[in-house]
Amino acid sequence: MNDEQLTQLFAAQNIPAPTDAAKAAALTAAMAAFAEQPPQAAPLEQHATKITTAAGNKFHKQKPRYALNSFAARFYGLFTVAGLHAAVVIALMIGLAPKDEMVLVDNVKVEAVEELKEEIALPPPPPPDYVAPPPDFAPPPSFNVAADAPAPANAITTAPAKAEAAPVAKVLATPARPPKKGLAPPTYPSESKKLGEEGAVALALYLNEEGRVQEAKVETSSGFARLDEAAVKQAVKAWKFEPCTQAGQPVACWYKIKFRFQLKDAN
């Protein structure tokens, strides 16, 4: 589809006229919002122009207010700076050196440790008949029964099957999705093209956390092994999905998809 066809497609769209009521309501709402706005003192464009002009004409000519344009001002400035430096040096020499502070901090630490030791020694030892509380999690009763009682031979095969079925039944917050750029279709096998083979292959894909196909199974065959094989090969080799997520974290999952081989699509 080229640009001209797209333009024609949009041009052919019949857009219904807006209702008068909707237009009136929109205008009323807009006017109400407009009335709430404080009027501008001057349009922004004019304001911007004034700033630009002022900057262009006067920036290099005017001296800033704080310029030191006299000898006295410079002298006072130098004197102030020298005085500040001297004050800092004296302060460091007399009372603000960090040495004493460090000593004080050490004392505090030592005292605190000693107090803590005393506190630890105070509480009596636990009674000898102390029994630890039961754990929060209690296994379901059915599980205990299966473990204790001697089970029939076929019960051994049932228990692991249930344990395996649990993750499959797990609810996924977000299912996997094909990528936004689409999936590249499999190449039509040349032999199938010659023989006119067509059909739909349903695939079950096991996607890892990255969305890549780790395993592909043919759920429903197209009736032609060549077509099934082409779909599986393409799925494993080239497809990458947006992975399933659970609580925001990508997880591996199964995903079903069907591809229909039709000879009019064949390259």
């Binding site: 589809m1 857009i15 929109a26 922004l44 936004k180 999936l183 229909r260 039709q262």
Partner: protein, 183 residues
């Protein structure tokens, strides 16, 4: 009849009559774009109303650096996106034009169905593609004009259109329903 710049300056100074005149002048432009975006008359009217209110609140910020038209399109695109996000939050699914409106607003037969598919594909492609396609193909803007509305480089618009063409060709090629995701 006063030109846009005079009306805008008057509106910025608080002249409500000038603002009302501006609104009347551009209401249909805003509505038309909103309709193309959502494909539904009632929703388009809501989006347009939001755009009008936004315009009232922000007309003082227009600095005459870009065309007023471009600024308006940007406004209505933002309102349409806000609407789309709120709809997604409520429905939790992909947005598609309502079926009853599709019969009213879209071209008949295969062209109508295909237009819906095109819009759906544009939404799937992610942010920015739909607005770029609508500005260029539906509103007839040049790449430079669309770039000015979207505040991106002209080359970005060209690249997006190139991607759109590629995706639509793929859509056309696989149209007989090759892919079916099973429930």
């Amino acid at each position: 009849m006063q030109d846009d710049a005079t009306l805008i300056r008057a509106a910025q100074s608080g002249n409500s009559q000038a603002f009302s005149e501006l609104m009347s002048r551009y209401y249909t432009t805003l509505y038309r774009f909103a309709y193309r975006w959502c494909g539904n008359r009632v929703e388009a009217e809501d989006i347009t109303q939001q755009a009008c209110i936004k315009l009232a609140r922000s007309i003082g910020q227009f600095r005459f650096e870009a065309a007023f038209n471009s600024w308006l399109y940007r406004l209505v695109i933002n309102c349409a996106k806000d609407w789309q996000n709120s709809q997604r939050r409520h429905r939790g699914e992909e947005l598609l034009p309502a079926a009853e409106d599709a019969a009213d607003g879209q071209p008949d037969g295969a062209a109508g169905i295909y237009l819906q598919q095109v819009l759906r594909q544009l939404e799937r492609m992610g942010e920015h593609y739909k607005e770029t396609a609508l500005l260029v193909f539906a509103e007839g803007m040049s790449h430079a004009e669309a770039a000015s509305v979207l505040q991106v480089k002209e080359s970005t618009v060209s690249w997006r259109l190139h991607e759109i063409r590629k995706q639509l060709q793929l859509l056309q090629r696989t149209q007989p329903g090759s892919w079916e995701v099973e429930p």
